[in-house]
Every structure is written in structure tokens, then in C-alpha cells.
């Protein structure tokens, strides 16, 4: 093997890497203790989600918000209806005129 080769050598690299010492001052006992002692969070179940939704449905602010939303949607439709009526009138007036050409 050519020892004067400028190419890096994998075996040499891993030999050197094996000399790397792990940090001697690393101590995770406190963190482990905390993680083990922490109460496990309860898993989210489908019935739990339904309960949450029902609770939301009974909230006053949500009911008020929904009422406002429905009222706004109704008003928009009503306005839209008048606009549609006007468009229909215009079309009915212009249709004979357009039909001539």
C-alpha cells in the first residue's frame, strides 16, 4: 500500500475516532428521575374528543358567535337575491334587443 498517499484513509480515520473519549462528567440521573416520576399524560380517546366538542357546543360565546354567523349569512343571501332579481330584470329587458341582432 502506498503510505505516502494524500488520500484520507477510512481505517486510519476509524482508528483515530475510537480514541475519542466520551464526556466523563455526563450525569443524567436527575433528568431520568424527573422523567420517570412525571405523571403520564392520559391518552386522548375518541369519547374524550366528543366530550370536548359537546362542552364547546354548550359554551355561550360559541352559541352567540354561531348565531351571528347564521344571521350574517342570511342577510348576505337576502341581498344577493335582490341583486339576482335585478340581473334577471335587465336580462329580460335586453333579451329582445339582443335578439334583433
Amino acid at each position: 500500500m502506498d503510505t505516502n498517499s494524500l488520500k484520507p484513509n477510512w481505517d486510519h480515520l476509524t482508528d483515530q475516532a475510537r480514541q475519542a473519549a466520551a464526556p466523563a462528567d455526563l450525569d443524567v440521573r436527575h433528568a431520568i428521575r424527573q422523567q420517570i416520576s412525571a405523571p403520564a399524560s392520559p391518552p386522548v380517546t375518541q369519547s374524550g374528543l366528543w366530550d370536548e366538542l359537546l362542552a364547546l357546543g354548550s359554551a355561550r360565546w360559541l352559541q352567540g358567535g354561531l348565531t351571528c354567523l347564521v344571521a350574517a349569512a342570511g342577510w348576505t343571501c337576502w341581498q344577493g337575491l335582490a341583486t339576482l332579481n335585478e340581473l334577471a330584470l335587465l336580462w329580460s329587458l335586453e333579451a329582445p334587443f339582443l335578439a334583433r341582432y
Binding site: L13, A17, Q19, Q35
Partner: protein, 195 residues
């Protein structure tokens, strides 16, 4: 195997207490085996922050799995298995995460870090070599990376690696052969002299 016979396992009384939920006993187990687990997981991640997370994760898993531990199995071997699998999961997470993608090679196979001068890092030469070796290995799929980390950096026998990962010996040999082939391609791309 280097692990002591189970009958003379000095950890056995502590393990029994820990199995019964004694946190103090488990604390003592951690104190005893923390250096070994840290040394093993250091091969997987030279970065201190990741290493701390890995050691912690491995011991927390050990705590949860402790009730299932049988005295017929050497405790140290059992702990090492948990550490090795934690290392493999770490590589899998790394591959999926956006940060993991940053370490992927450019289309021409070079990485920006390749062009840095050798003395750009202030860590020791050995630590630098470990980081570079891990960078090269990071181009491999997680399973190959874990296998070659244990083979080349930890110098763990292939039979023991096979036991830890639950592979047959033949399967481990085939996997090691394929992983070495992939490593050769990557080494060639990075201008390394092939072993």
C-alpha cells in the same frame, strides 16, 4: 461473553428493588452503568446535547422494560441492547428530520463541510475524527449506519450485533456485506482510500 454470570451479578439485589418500583435502587443502577452506556452511545452521536438525550432515553426505556427482565439474561447485555436500539432509532429520526436532510450530500457528492480546513474545529483530533466518520456514515440508511457504527467504531463482534438487533447470523453477515459495499461507494465519492 464478557458479562458476569447471572448468579454473581452484583446488580441483582438492586434490580429486584427497582423492579418493585424503588427509584433509589434504579438511581444506583444508572450511576453504575452510566459510563458504559455513555461510551457506547458516544459512538452514535459525538454531539454532547444529543448524547445526553440518548443516554437519558435509553435508561428511561430500561426503567419501563425492567419488570420484564429475566434473571437468566445478563443485565449488562440487556442494557447494551436497549442502548444499541436507541441509537438506531436516533438515526431513523435524524433521517426523517429536516436537520437530517441538511447533512445530505450535494448532487456531486460533496458536502460544504468537506471544504473546511482540517484545523477548523477546536475539538481534539480524535473527536474530530469521530465526527468525520459519523458524517461519512450519515450518508447510509439508518440500519447500515448503526451496523457500521458498531462494527467499525465500537468494534463489536458481528454475532453480538446480530443478537442486539434480533437478526440471524447469516442475515447479519449479508447486511454487513451490503453495508460495506455502500460505504465503499460513499468513501470513493469523498476521495477516501478504500480499505
Amino acid at each position: 461473553m464478557s458479562a458476569p454470570p447471572v448468579a454473581h451479578d452484583p446488580d441483582l439485589p438492586l434490580i429486584r428493588q427497582a423492579q418493585a418500583g424503588d427509584l433509589e435502587a434504579f438511581d444506583e443502577i444508572v450511576r453504575r452503568h452510566q459510563p458504559l452506556m455513555t461510551a457506547l452511545l458516544h459512538r452514535f452521536s459525538p454531539a454532547r446535547a444529543d448524547l445526553e438525550d440518548l443516554v437519558q432515553e435509553a435508561f428511561v426505556k430500561a426503567w419501563h422494560a425492567l419488570p420484564a427482565w429475566q434473571p437468566e439474561r445478563p443485565f449488562l447485555h440487556w442494557l447494551k441492547r436497549i442502548a444499541v436500539r436507541t441509537g438506531l432509532e436516533f438515526y431513523r429520526r435524524r433521517q426523517r428530520s429536516p436537520m437530517g436532510r441538511l447533512a445530505e450530500p450535494s448532487p456531486d457528492g460533496r458536502h460544504p463541510l468537506d471544504d473546511l480546513p482540517a484545523d477548523a474545529t477546536d475539538s481534539s483530533a480524535a473527536q474530530g475524527a469521530l465526527e468525520e466518520a459519523q458524517f461519512i456514515l450519515s450518508h447510509l440508511p439508518p440500519e447500515d449506519r448503526a451496523l457500521l457504527t458498531l462494527l467499525h467504531l465500537e468494534q463489536m463482534p458481528l454475532a453480538e450485533i446480530a443478537q442486539h438487533f434480533g437478526w440471524s447470523r447469516i442475515n447479519a453477515k449479508v447486511k454487513a456485506y451490503r453495508a460495506r459495499q455502500r460505504l465503499h461507494t460513499i468513501l470513493k465519492r469523498h476521495g477516501y482510500e478504500l480499505p
